[in-house]
């Protein structure tokens, strides 16, 4: 639509464009940014070193916008990298031991995946000669598969890391928990979506739509992500970690949606994915601000310290209630709309794809898991009675801030036809082109009360409640004299990053690399050293021998020592005596040698004379 070009920037050129999808998400970003900024102003008021936070805050926001409006992959990459690096500061901001670890992990993953993404970009530029999204969409349609699939995977690694796709998700629970609250909200609400948007745009403009391999890969990754996230969210007693892992799980749902968009590009898959992204954006804004407000008031995130905290706090209860039910996909809430659209799209694919069939089942079960962990939070915070009741309540202003997005979520839930219309106006241009035009027939006439939908919802809810009683009530809770204690959940070694990635990449590989490198580094020096020792032998460093030679000196010293053992003080040191003896012998030998040689000389002179005489006779 609007395209702005400047070829000179970094000799590649920046270009921007806008379409409905980008404008929509930019608008959402601005909204979330404003809410989070208002929250941050209050939250960070009493803290030190805020300048660096605000610098990175504004920088990240503008880079997010730049990323959204990017018209080519280089622009995307640049803003994405700056955004990643700037947002690391939010995680490091608190300067505790844990936040330091989390920040470093986040930084490492960002940099590594950034480099992988750069490789992908290079392959695209090399293979197709352009990075412009629109041109690529046209060129790649007829390109050979390997030439477009490998760059897609590489670039998606970069974007996927930010979203938290399985295997690259290790930073996410740590960083979300350790980041300052407004930062976590923005990370979860917008930055993770930026990753997803990146994957969508890359997949559409590199012509991998309808490519079975890529779609299945995304399906599997999505399923793994959602299960991992939900699993981690259930087995923890930390409020913020539950919400953070829930983010991970929902990203899994969204990635599954993207997989559907790739496998079967039509309106339904796209609508479901986009609506779930929107849903998740606002839900997580509300929840993370809510969690932040609780933390600001009580300085604790442990569920055991927060039991019954929200009993007299209706706004908090509404927020957690609406968001939880919406995430779980209960009818009447917005999550119901988006999740069922994705599920329907998945079922369409499942008719001819076995992986999709399995993922469809996982989808339902994970929906139940979502309900389970949200129930855990809700019951702990609002139903149980306990020590949290008399803790300080969140500030009034904070309450308004987390209620605002909740209202949007609620409104979307009670007006599904309006909500479901949004995607019709917000298709990314590239996707539309690559999919050869998508229609929204099924979306506008989506049967929310079709038997299949009701059945899936019922299964999901049943699973959720069953899981709640099984996992939370049985495994996670200790009952001691009428009070409930939440257990710490997963053991400490259950950490893919700390016990697999870090040892392999940080210690093992660098050890081998450093070993090889040092070998080559010292090679020349060693050769020179060797030659200096063997060929250019410098004078040997001698022990100072005062009298005699080294043999007599050594022998004399030994004999001296032996006489000392005898405790008879020797008259003269053996060293001197031996050296004297040696000298005498030597002079004698010299005399003999000389006289011998003299006689030899005389003899040979005589011989020569005799010979000459004989010759000339």
């Amino acid at each position: 639509m609007i395209s702005f070009l400047s070829n000179d920037f970094c000799s590649i050129g920046l270009s921007f464009k806008a379409d409905g999808f980008r404008l929509l998400y930019a608008g959402v970003s601005v909204m979330v940014f404003l809410i989070c900024t208002l929250f941050a102003a209050k939250y960070l008021k009493d803290q030190k070193k805020n300048t660096r936070f605000y610098i990175s805050w504004v920088l990240t926001f503008f880079c997010t916008l730049g990323l959204l409006f990017a018209g080519d992959l280089f622009t995307c990459f640049m803003f994405f990298e700056i955004m990643s690096l700037a947002s690391v500061i939010w995680v490091l901001q608190r300067e505790t031991h844990d936040s330091d670890i989390a920040g470093r992990v986040y930084l490492r993953i960002s940099v590594i995946c950034g480099m992988v993404m750069l490789y992908g970009l290079l392959l695209v530029q090399h293979g197709f000669g352009t990075l412009d999204l629109e041109k690529l969409t046209e060129i790649t349609a007829s390109a050979e598969v390997s030439k477009k699939l490998i760059p897609t995977i590489l670039i998606s690694v970069g974007f996927g890391a930010k979203a938290g796709v399985f295997l690259l998700h290790v930073w996410l629970p740590k960083a979300y928990v350790q980041a300052v609250a407004p930062g976590t909200a923005f990370l979860s609400a917008i930055l993770s979506k930026a990753g997803i948007i990146g994957i969508i745009l890359t997949s559409s403009c590199l012509g991998v739509l309808r490519l079975e391999t890529w779609g299945n890969m995304l399906l599997i990754l999505g399923a793994c992500t959602m299960v991992t996230g939900a699993f981690l969210a259930i087995f923890t007693n930390d409020l913020k970690r539950t919400v953070a892992c829930s983010s991970l799980s929902q990203i899994g749902f969204i990635v599954t949606g993207v997989a559907c968009m790739v496998l079967e590009p039509d309106g339904l898959a796209f609508a479901g994915t986009l609506l779930h992204m929107l849903n998740h954006t606002f839900i997580k804004t509300a929840l993370f601000i809510g969690v932040g407000a609780i933390y600001a008031a009580t300085k604790t995130l442990d569920l055991n310290g927060l039991k019954g905290y929200g009993r007299k706090n209706p706004l908090l209860m509404i927020t957690f209630g609406v968001c939880g039910l919406s995430l779980a996909g209960i009818p009447g809430f917005s999550g119901f709309v988006s999740k069922n659209m994705m599920h329907e799209a998945l079922d369409v694919i499942a008719e001819s794809n076995d992986i999709a069939k399995a993922v469809s089942v996982i989808f339902t079960v994970t929906g139940g898991m979502t309900l389970c962990y949200m129930l855990k939070l809700f019951i702990c915070l609002f139903v149980e009675k306990g020590n949290g009741e008399d803790k300080k309540k969140p500030e009034k202003s904070d309450q308004i801030l987390f209620t605002l997005p909740t209202l949007l979520v609620f409104a979307a839930g009670i007006l599904p036809p309006v909500f479901a219309k949004i995607p019709c106006f917000a298709v990314p241009e590239e996707y539309n082109k690559a999919a050869a035009g998508i229609t929204f027939e099924e979306v506008t006439h989506f049967g929310f009360f079709a038997p299949a939908v009701i059945k899936a919802t019922l299964i999901s809810v049943t699973v959720g409640i069953a899981l709640y009683f099984l996992c939370i009530r049985l495994l996670m809770i200790d009952k001691k004299n009428n009070s409930v204690i939440y257990r710490a959940g997963l053991p400490g070694w259950f950490d893919l990053e700390a016990y697999v990635y870090r040892p392999v990449f940080m210690y093992f590989l660098t050890f081998i690399g450093a070993f090889v490198a040092r070998l080559f580094d010292k090679l020349t020096d060693l050769i020179i050293y060797f030659f200096r020792k063997k060929v250019f032998k410098p004078l040997k460093h001698k022990r100072s021998v005062t009298v005699g030679n080294s043999f007599t000196y050594g022998l004399g010293t030994i004999l001296d020592k032996m006489t000392k053992i005898d405790k008879k003080p020797g008259k003269v040191s053996y060293v001197t005596r031996l050296s004297l003896f040696n000298e005498q012998t030597a002079s004698m030998a010299r005399m003999i040698e000389r006289s011998l040689s003299l006689s030899m000389l005389l003899f040979s002179t005589g011989l020569v004379i005799t010979l000459i005489y004989m010759l000339f006779k």
């Binding site: 070829n7 000179d8 920037f9 970094c10 000799s11 590649i12 660096r52 280089f74 990459f77 640049m78 990298e81 700056i82 690096l85 490091l92 300067e95 505790t96 031991h97 330091d100 920040g103 470093r104 930084l107 940099v111 590594i112 950034g114 480099m115 992988v116 750069l118 490789y119 290079l122 392959l123 530029q125 090399h126 660098t510 690399g513 450093a514 090889v516 490198a517 040092r518 080559f520 580094d521 090679l523 020349t524 020096d525 020179i528």
Partner: protein
């Protein structure tokens, strides 16, 4: 313009600093501080030399025979794209680092007054030789044939060794010796090739775009290849390429910061220039493409890229870390040459300039830290960002550049280098090459960003520095100003790299 005037303008930037340098080093000041220098006078000399270089860039003659021994053996200065880029880069960096040094070298004078037993060379000697190196380097980059090049090359080794030895500690003397041995070994290696080449060509070994040695077709190519390889190894000694890189991590850290900055940023590039002249201006890529020399050169440079950054990652002493980083980064440039295609050549050309700016800035940052706090090791930098915010903000900028995060300048050069590598006919080598470059970039992030993080996020237990070292003039204003200018340059050069690309396009494509 008058021919004579043009000639004088060309010669001045070579001979003015040498003369000024001898004058500065040989004279003494009146009064108590005999060996100290006048800051104002130094800045004026640097400024004059900078202006002279720019004048020579604008008005200089294209070819100037300085003197001739015989018809074949002549000393020639020539002006072309490469020499223009080099003289501007050299003068810019020397000018800025020189201004920084006028503040920094007070450090040594102070130390000399305090500690009687450590006797470093005087500031006057330092600046004298600094100026001489500057002049010699200008001559080196304008050298029009191999003989002139060789002459200036050896002069540079000798003069710059004084910068290394400056501290006169045991390590400094050892390092300077090592530097001289390696350099001379390299130069004689190159001289060996020189002799072969002179025989093969039978000419004056003049630098001509695209290769001056013609008619190689019928002759024994192997002899030429061996001699080219020897020259690459020989000049590679200065550029810190494996196998003769050993002096670099020893010599750079012991020199005073401004000297290490120009050693790493500029003097290493003399070796690069030598290889460039040999490959593209003497032999020509036509002869070398696809031969074992190309592959050997490529693998050596890639090995050095990885080795340098891996060792930098493992290194604790800040300046040594930066020196290893130089080993790695300069080999990026050599890898670009070894690809022997225009795109990679552009990458290498960009990286010459960008690395000069970035590495100078990093060394000056390290110098500021040493100047203000006398801290040398990376773990000691914990929390220093608060005390020296500008120093470490510029450090962070330069780090991003060296890693290759757009829009800071390192990205552009790496982009072209990688694209050039992918353009290779043997695509597998290209893919491996790009992977090595990216892994090295990753390690670069590892060894530079970790410092930034430690400096700015020391953790809760950190007690803190009492004062802002920059505001309390512990780090002087001149030093801070130089660092800020360099940091701005880092970004601007990256953003406006295309201008150079357009200007240089025809010349570079004519090389192939």
């Amino acid at each position: 313009m008058n021919e004579l005037l043009k000639n004088i303008i060309t010669l001045l930037p070579v001979f003015f600093p040498v003369a000024a340098g001898i004058l500065v080093a040989a004279t003494k000041r009146r009064g108590v501080h005999k060996h100290s220098f006048s800051k104002q006078a130094m800045i004026v000399i640097f400024g004059v030399q900078f202006v002279l270089t720019v004048l020579s860039f604008v008005f200089g003659t294209d070819r100037l025979v300085m003197f001739s021994f015989t018809d074949l053996i002549t000393a020639v200065l020539k002006k072309d794209l490469i020499s223009d880029i080099f003289i501007l880069m050299i003068s810019g960096i020397f000018f800025l680092a020189g201004i920084y040094a006028t503040d920094y070298m007070r450090h040594d004078d102070r130390k000399n007054e305090k500690e009687q037993n450590v006797k470093t060379l005087s500031g006057r000697t330092f600046f004298g030789f600094y100026l001489m190196v500057w002049g010699v380097l200008i001559g080196l980059s304008e050298a029009g044939n191999l003989l002139t090049f060789y002459m200036f090359y050896e002069l540079m080794t000798v003069t710059s060794a004084v910068l290394v030895i400056h501290d006169m500690t045991k390590e400094a003397v050892f390092a300077a010796k090592k530097y001289i041995y390696y350099s001379i070994a390299g130069a004689s290696c190159a001289l060996f090739g020189f002799a072969f080449m002179a025989k093969a060509s039978g000419g004056a070994l003049e630098f001509v775009s695209g290769g001056s040695i013609s008619g190689l077709a019928g002759k024994d190519l192997n002899q030429v290849l061996v001699s080219v390889f020897l020259m690459i190894i020989g000049f590679g000694a200065k550029a810190g390429m494996f196998p003769l890189h050993g002096w670099l991590p020893t010599a750079h850290p012991v020199a005073p910061a401004p000297a290490s900055a120009v050693l790493s940023g500029i003097i290493c590039k003399a070796g690069v220039l030598g290889i460039l002249r040999v490959i593209f201006y003497l032999v020509g890529t036509e002869v070398l493409k696809g031969t074992w020399v190309q592959y050997a050169f490529m693998s050596l440079s890639l090995l050095t890229v990885f080795m340098g950054s891996m060792l930098a990652y493992k290194e604790k002493v800040l300046k040594k870390r930066l020196a290893y980083s130089t080993v790695s980064q300069v080999s990026y440039i050599l890898f670009g040459f070894s690809c022997m295609n225009p795109i990679a050549f552009f990458g290498a050309l960009f990286h010459i300039v960008f690395h000069a700016v970035l590495k100078t800035l990093l060394f000056l940052n390290a110098g500021s830290v040493i100047f203000a706090t006398d801290r040398h090791e990376c773990p000691e930098l914990c929390g220093i960002g608060k005390a020296m915010p500008i120093t470490f903000a510029t450090f962070a900028t330069a780090s991003l550049g060296l890693i290759g995060i757009p829009p800071v300048c390192g990205f552009v050069s790496k982009w072209y280098l990688c694209l050039g590598a992918l353009d290779l006919k043997e695509s597998v080598i290209g893919y491996i090459g790009v992977a090595v470059l990216l892994v090295s970039a990753l390690l670069t992030a590892g060894y530079l960003l970790s410092i930034v993080i430690v400096a700015f996020f020391p953790g809760q237990d950190f007690e803190g520095f009492d004062e802002n070292l920059e505001r309390s003039k512990k780090v002087r204003t001149g030093m801070v100003a130089v660092m800020v200018i360099l940091a701005v340059l880092c970004v601007l050069l990256g953003v406006f790299a295309n201008t150079v690309y357009d200007l240089a396009y025809d010349t570079v494509y004519a090389l192939f």
